[in-house]
Symmetry: C2
Subunit: 374 residues, 2 copies
Amino acid sequence: MSQGPTGIVMMNLGGPKTLDDVQPFLLKLFEDREIIQLPAQIFLGPFIAKRRTKSVQQNYADIGGGSPILKWTTEQGQGMCVRLDKLSPQTAPHKFYIAFRYINPFSEDALKAMQADGVKRAVAFTQYPQFSCATTGSSLNEIWRAAKRLGLQDAFDWSVIDRWPTHPKFIEAMTKTVKQGLAQFDKKDQDDALILFSAHSLPMNIINRGDAYPAEIGATVHEVMKQLNYSHEYMVTYQSEVGPVPWLGPSTENVIEELGKKKRKNVLVVGIAFTSDHIETLHELDIEYGELAHEAGISNYKRAPALNGMPLFQDALAEIVAEHLTRGDACSKQYGLRCAGCVNPQCRNILNPVVPFKRTNVTASPKNKDYQTV
Amino acid sequence: MSQGPTGIVMMNLGGPKTLDDVQPFLLKLFEDREIIQLPAQIFLGPFIAKRRTKSVQQNYADIGGGSPILKWTTEQGQGMCVRLDKLSPQTAPHKFYIAFRYINPFSEDALKAMQADGVKRAVAFTQYPQFSCATTGSSLNEIWRAAKRLGLQDAFDWSVIDRWPTHPKFIEAMTKTVKQGLAQFDKKDQDDALILFSAHSLPMNIINRGDAYPAEIGATVHEVMKQLNYSHEYMVTYQSEVGPVPWLGPSTENVIEELGKKKRKNVLVVGIAFTSDHIETLHELDIEYGELAHEAGISNYKRAPALNGMPLFQDALAEIVAEHLTRGDACSKQYGLRCAGCVNPQCRNILNPVVPFKRTNVTASPKNKDYQTV
């Protein structure tokens, strides 16, 4: 094709690959006002990041010295592209590029590689199934800023896959992980297992300004349980709260403690908002909450495997992209909708979109100096 | 049939039929510790109820002098039973009984009428599509207490329909109301309409102990939008917060104000958690938020009609009951699961269940004197 390859940018949080990466990763995280807003952030952010470095390094040391998210994303991207070339020969070849938010490969790295490969048509594909401004929103804003920083604002024709909380193939893959999780229990205990679908929590101020996240988490969970014919008791819980502000609950941690008090013996925890293993599954769910569950008397506390290298999930990724390319739209209808309480004028943009799209709820909020605009 | 009719108890909040009903209704509401917990509730509850009586009476005066919920529930029950006798002749005849939580007909009234009619097989059928301990949970606990107060604890063989957030026929009916709502806009404005799916809010302490409500609201909304092929922008919002405690947001009221500031002109509000018109639709959504929207500059603020007397919704009610009777279970798997943070030992019971069911997370919480146990 004269247009060159179709570039698929896989956006995710990312994680430190080595213990030395921990501090720069935390520094980036705590300077992102789209996820965390602190008073005097330019001073307080680095202060908190540095103070937390040692304990977070210890956590990464506990899980083998680094995050496996780059490895899994690479494997997922490779599987996706092989399938895409068959599913959608008219847009082949397909090449994937990884853009992590707080660690390399950054958006800049992805964009430079795309330019070197002669990519013109680019798809920004979030690896978060459910949309939140704190995750997908922040990653997209960063891609557009990075493109401007590199002078590449006209280099690519962009479209965005901004959410896929109930894509049938994703639900099928997720359901498979739940079944694999249940199979870890002794036969006699399987029926009794309570499934905790645990998602990363969000501060209530993000929820209250209109973030779509909790409703989309609810939708994903319901579709998975429908596939399972509602075979087990289940709950939606939220993990990884930090700091003194109120977060969305129920808290996975508190729920585990309460279940222990209520003499619950069989609990299966399922990460519902991430597609690869990372510190929140390998350390928080497995080690921290595992110890908590043990102390609370939950004798059989198990975790369903993450999607990681599952071929069915690569089928899902390829189908999501192929369907998107066939539809030919710039993004979902929802992506254009800024949150009702949004004060960030950068939100919900697409740089050089492949077709025009409607961005709404735009007027009013005065340009907010809290947000750097490149 | 020697067993007599199958009794279907339609449980709902209820609403004052006349202005004189307002004070007794509020007194009952503010004494229900399963929905509101106040310090010194026995004194503070009546105090607040009396203080609010005048303004709430004015609200009911504004909507014609009383709540239409009894009228609609009666019409829905009649339509449901006609259909059920055809769908499930083996359990016919079917008779419906209304049990409101805070106004007559109370649970006692329903139970006495069932006894008089010779009912043995009884189904407690919540009219709240999504489960919450504050609504369906409270109504069920009250039915069991009322049966004991009347000495009718062995009179009926009970099963429970405790939730139906994504029943296909309910989704079909709900989708129809959304389409009717969109049809109220001028053709040129229809595409621009933002759909606000508004549900009654809950205090965060109920959410945080593990209530299933927000995830089930998310599931309902997603199914409706799927039926609409995601044709419009939409949000899930929460209404009717009172008092100083934190409630689940985003608040419908705040969202309307923010949308006005952002120059949004076309907004369709859809009550997603109630099936009939009542004070929260006719007064809060139509009058109060209508004025707010007008002041905020939203020129076209419309509300989708409630399900009310829609025949398709009566089809849904009948199918939900018929499928339940065919399955033959006592309740959903979820009903048996007490919230992780529950301190109410009455929760998740079924009096004299038609078949045994498993109630879980039972141990530990010491009998709490805050809850009257009959």
